[in-house]
Symmetry: C2
Subunit: 654 residues, 2 copies
């Protein structure tokens, strides 16, 4: 439990500036401190302060203060293009680290790019295109040093789900995918520009945990198509249709595919396991996908597959990203679908990108500016669909490899893009014989890490409601649909906040002998009741949503205390002290019940006393004139002072 | 401001049980108290406590404890039928009071009943039926002594709006009105039975203020139809169609109707004004509507109106409520409409009934049990539509008259119902010549009191966001629609809670010299910074929705403090103390950022210390094992103890 140095000693005073003798309980006279109002501010000043706290909590312009114009300009350029910040100090040592890590992630990015594009029902080559342009843009605009940018599993899955349930025509599908990516980028960049980054905070980690596990289960099951060699497969994404589809097409299962698939799957999972056990061997799992692709391609090439029923990727066009801005689709009946898909994939990819960036920034003790990252990711996704890229963000698995491989700056993304460039220009024909089954194995290996049952167990242990939110998003995604599952989980999270506000905790306090500390009677066995007083702490803002509850609960406390006193024949109750320290806000309903409570208790000859209202609560109590009814003896700065002053006032006057 | 007895005196000690010498600041040795965990409870016990706080906050069964079976039975009957509680002590003195008040509200209820039924587009007689059966049921089940039950303006308006925009056939309309009433009752009774009464708390007073004012404006404008004698009028309820309709049908305006209408309107408003000025003359405004009805009926009878274009009520059937359970409508295409209308009118009438009951209970210092009231109102509205009644609840205006006329028990409702009974049986033909214009004048007089601009001004002064919620519901109702206006207002209220949670207040604390009190530096000019310490208070639970913000904000506080120290050349910062008193809850995201923050500050050689986490926060910090990383010097019970213990540990050891 930590602290337990419960020394009861004589107090010696070294650095004493002022020595006060405090007597407990009830000194008849004592310095009583005024409860101050917060400094007077106009409505405009309040609004300005509020707006700056909402939109500029980290004070992004603090660097620009007290600088010359020239420095300000330089800082401004560095602010918008972080490459100029780290670029000026770039040297050969950093380059060597970035080169190694860049090549490592490229070896992972190429097979994963092809696989994820298939997951999104897009041509495999689009995955490679998306691993080329976006990383270049991010390396100029992004502020994370370890983020490895490219297509990711979750966003690919969601885009695939949402579009393929509605669109069958492959050309329209491609157009909509690019359009959705553009809207995802627009949405992301707008959130960053409007400084509304806190919107993504509403996807709590618990929610995301459940969501990602659910998505991983669905993605893995979907890969049974490739892994078993099934040709006709459902386009739906819920658990039941997928399993039904697997079982219904048993006649299409191909044993050659199954052997090859499960063989490589075991290989990939083993390498993953090794790297997890010994983080130094990260390169084992990093190199495994490319190794598998090469090995399986060679194998299929040797046995000239087709006849054996192993489906292959086939012809992929050589050359760089073709321009595709003419494929953006801004009118027509499917526009709403594209916008909706864009927003959902945009939020998800943003959440992943920001979370990954923050994780590695915290490890290396630098800060990533959420709103700036949103703009970087947003612009990257707005530019992407003009060059045949679909939605991209920072990938967790590749960023982890990047970090472990020793990446120092975003230059590793440029190295990776260059490797993809070489692949696109020269190596495409080599993928002709690559079997689709290997892509399925790669996807399963990548997403299986998203199922973090240990974290779910920790949630259960620490916070049952967080666990519930996690479960809701898991089952919501699994059985209903991705957007609805997410919406349910966000709903549960918000409901949790509202529940806490609607039914806040109240507790009776007692004095810890020998101190001015008042603490919960039920928690601190040392704490003693102060006779004739009922000291209550309210642990919540008082709002319309809980005002009635708080009023009833306080009256119940009073009733129970009176019954207790009657049973034990103690001194009668005279004063109710409300410790308002944790009442962090109040609204007009709250003010009203405070006034009503005072009147109701007064009719029973009980005095209501407020202690230590915080700044804005004090201001509102003052503005509403309710303080006047409390009078001079109704407001104190600390419970100790209130108890002392009130009990001394009860003494018979001389 | 109240308290300002800032006496700095020598302390004399009378009733001293224990005298402690506390030195400030930094005594090198001091008693340090352990931060306790809350008592160990199992998950089931926690759940039980949580559930009982959510659903049984007022401990409704406390009367039943330690009683014999016989008493328990009697208490049980009294619990469900409050009439047995007050009925046993009923006497002639109480009866005299109830008789006078009952007859007074009857004189108001009869004209208002007819008027409100017209407001709901129902036959006027339904308004009288609804003033007969429901008050009788309420007097048996209800726990308020002053509630006067019957049709009310808001619920009538809303039902009229929602149904008449979709249904034109009068028979179907009547069926749907009864069905909607039944569902309203079912919804209300279920809320009461399931003890979900707190749902209506989400309609804050600010929201209701705006809503009622908006509804009053619309209702008043709608009455221009009757007041100007227009025959063809829009069925819509928004501001613009109503005004357009008034202006378009100028050719239908009838000057006789206008003169009569405005004459009586001025009379009614004057009597209302008199009663408001002198509450003792409440009977002036209470008697005015019936007087107006009688006078206008006589007037129209004398001049045999029809030719002069004054429309009259016409024939009303004599006799008691006909049974109407065969008119309830449980299938078919309009069922959804009936359910929706039922839920909206149910919530609104419930809110009005409960608020009115609580208001007068508070004035007479008794308590109204919200959940029980819901059941009473709910059963009344479920039984009502079987006897040709539409939705009813406690009316604010009539309850106020009831209270002022000296009502003592719910028996005044029985008196009122008896008066309505006599009217239904014998007096119906007298209403033949009653002009419709007088009903319009009565409605306007009744609803004009709902526009409480002074309360709105108080909201503006005390709480700008409450004022915004009020404005939203006002304009939402006026320009969009009643249900959507309500939904927007509830949305704004919930957003306000979320905003407070998302961007909580943080502040730096300082010591008030000579005390162990630590208060906001910006608010208390007396408070002094403690050198080498940064003491921060967080005024909010730490949740997923604000975890990132709090982390960034704390880091900004540290940065700003370091800059300040650098500028002023003070001692370097060594320790950050987080006062967690107002952190009333934490979730897994919150726990994570506390851990991250500790690591980040440690890398900068700054110590992070937690002070006074509340019970459940402490429990979660303990369960998550994060406390272990804080160690023995990372957790204190009060800021004073933390400052003393840490600063003494910095002294060079001997």
């Amino acid at each position: 439990m930590g602290v337990n140095s419960n020394r009861v000693e004589a107090f010696s005073t070294h650095q004493t500036t002022l020595t006060v003798k405090v007597s407990v309980p009830m000194p008849p006279s004592m310095e009583v401190h005024t409860v101050c109002l917060p400094p007077q501010t106009t409505t405009f000043q309040k609004l300005k302060h509020r707006v700056s706290e909402i939109f500029f909590p980290e004070d992004p312009l603090h660097r620009f203060k007290n600088q010359t114009w020239c420095t300000k300009l330089l800082l401004g350029v560095q602010f918008f293009f972080p490459i100029f910040q780290w670029g000026s100090g770039y040297n050969l040592r950093l380059f060597r680290s970035d080169l190694i890590s860049g090549l490592t992630i490229a070896s992972l990015a190429i097979p994963q790019g092809i696989s994820y594009a298939k997951l999104a029902n897009l041509p495999p080559i689009v995955g490679l295109y998306s691993s080329f342009v976006p990383p270049l843009i991010y390396s100029v605009l992004g502020s994370s040093r370890h983020l490895a940018v490219g297509p990711v599993s979750i966003a690919s899955l969601v885009m695939g789900t949402m579009l393929s349930e509605n669109v069958k025509d492959p050309i329209l599908y491609l157009k909509l995918a690019f359009t959705a990516t553009f809207f995802a980028g627009l949405f992301q960049a707008s959130l960053g520009l409007l400084r509304l980054g806190f919107v993504i905070d509403f996807l709590s980690k618990a929610t995301l945990l459940g969501f990602m596990a659910g998505a991983a289960v669905i993605v893995s099951l979907q890969q049974l198509k490739g892994l078993l060699g099934i040709v006709h497969f459902t386009g739906k994404m819920q658990l039941i249709p997928v399993i039904t589809s697997v079982l219904e097409h048993r006649n299409e299962w191909s044993w050659q595919t199954i052997i090859m698939g499960f063989g490589f799957l075991v290989f990939l999972l083993t390498t993953r396991h090794i790297s997890m056990r010994k983080p130094k061997l990260f390169w084992v799992s990093a190199a495994a996908p490319l190794t598998s692709v090469i090995l399986s391609t060679l194998l299929v090439f040797c046995i000239k597959s087709k006849a054996h029923g192993i489906s292959i990727i086939g012809h992929l066009p050589k050359g760089l990203n073709p321009p595709s801005s003419n494929m953006l689709y801004f009118d027509g009946p499917s526009l709403a679908l594209a916008i909706k898909t864009g927003i959902v994939t945009g939020i998800l990819s943003l959440t992943e990108g920001i979370a990954v960036g923050r994780t590695f920034a915290a490890l290396k003790n630098y800060q990533v500016d959420g709103n700036k990252e949103m703009m970087a990711i947003g612009f990257m996704n707005m530019a992407g669909p003009c060059t045949s890229c679909y939605v991209t963000t920072g990938s967790f698995s590749r960023s982890a490899v990047n970090y472990n491989a020793g990446a120092q700056t975003a230059f590793s993304n440029i190295i990776m893009a260059s490797a993809v460039l070489v692949t696109l220009l020269f190596l495409m024909p080599l993928f002709y014989y690559t079997p689709n089954v290997i892509l399925a194995a790669i996807i399963i290996t990548a997403v299986i890490g998203l199922i973090d049952y240990q974290a779910a167990f920790r949630l259960w242990k620490v916070d049952k409601l967080d666990f519930l939110a996690c479960l809701c998003s898991f089952f919501g995604v699994l059985f209903i649909s991705v957007p609805l599952g997410l919406a349910i989980a966000v709903g549960v999270s918000v409901l949790k906040i509202l529940l806490h506000v609607t039914r806040p905790n109240t507790m009776a306090l007692g004095n810890i002998p020998g101190t001015q500390i008042y603490q919960s009677l039920s928690r601190y066995t040392k704490a003693l009741r102060v006779p004739s007083f009922l000291i209550l702490a309210i642990e919540s803002p008082i709002y319309f949503a809980n005002a009635t509850y708080i009023q009833e609960r306080i009256l119940r406390w009073v009733r129970e205390e009176e019954e207790r006193i009657k049973a034990n024949k103690e001194c009668t109750l005279k004063s109710i002290i409300l410790d308002m320290t944790a009442v962090t806000a109040i609204d007009t309903s709250g003010i009203e019940i405070i006034g009503e409570l005072r009147k109701m208790l007064e009719k029973r000859s009980l005095q209501l006393v407020l202690v230590n209202p915080v700044g804005n609560v004090m201001a509102k109590l003052h503005q509403s004139k309710i303080l006047d009814s409390f009078g001079i003896d109704g407001l104190y700065l600390s419970v100790g002072e209130a108890v002392a002053a009130i009990s001394s006032s009860w003494k018979p006057q001389p």
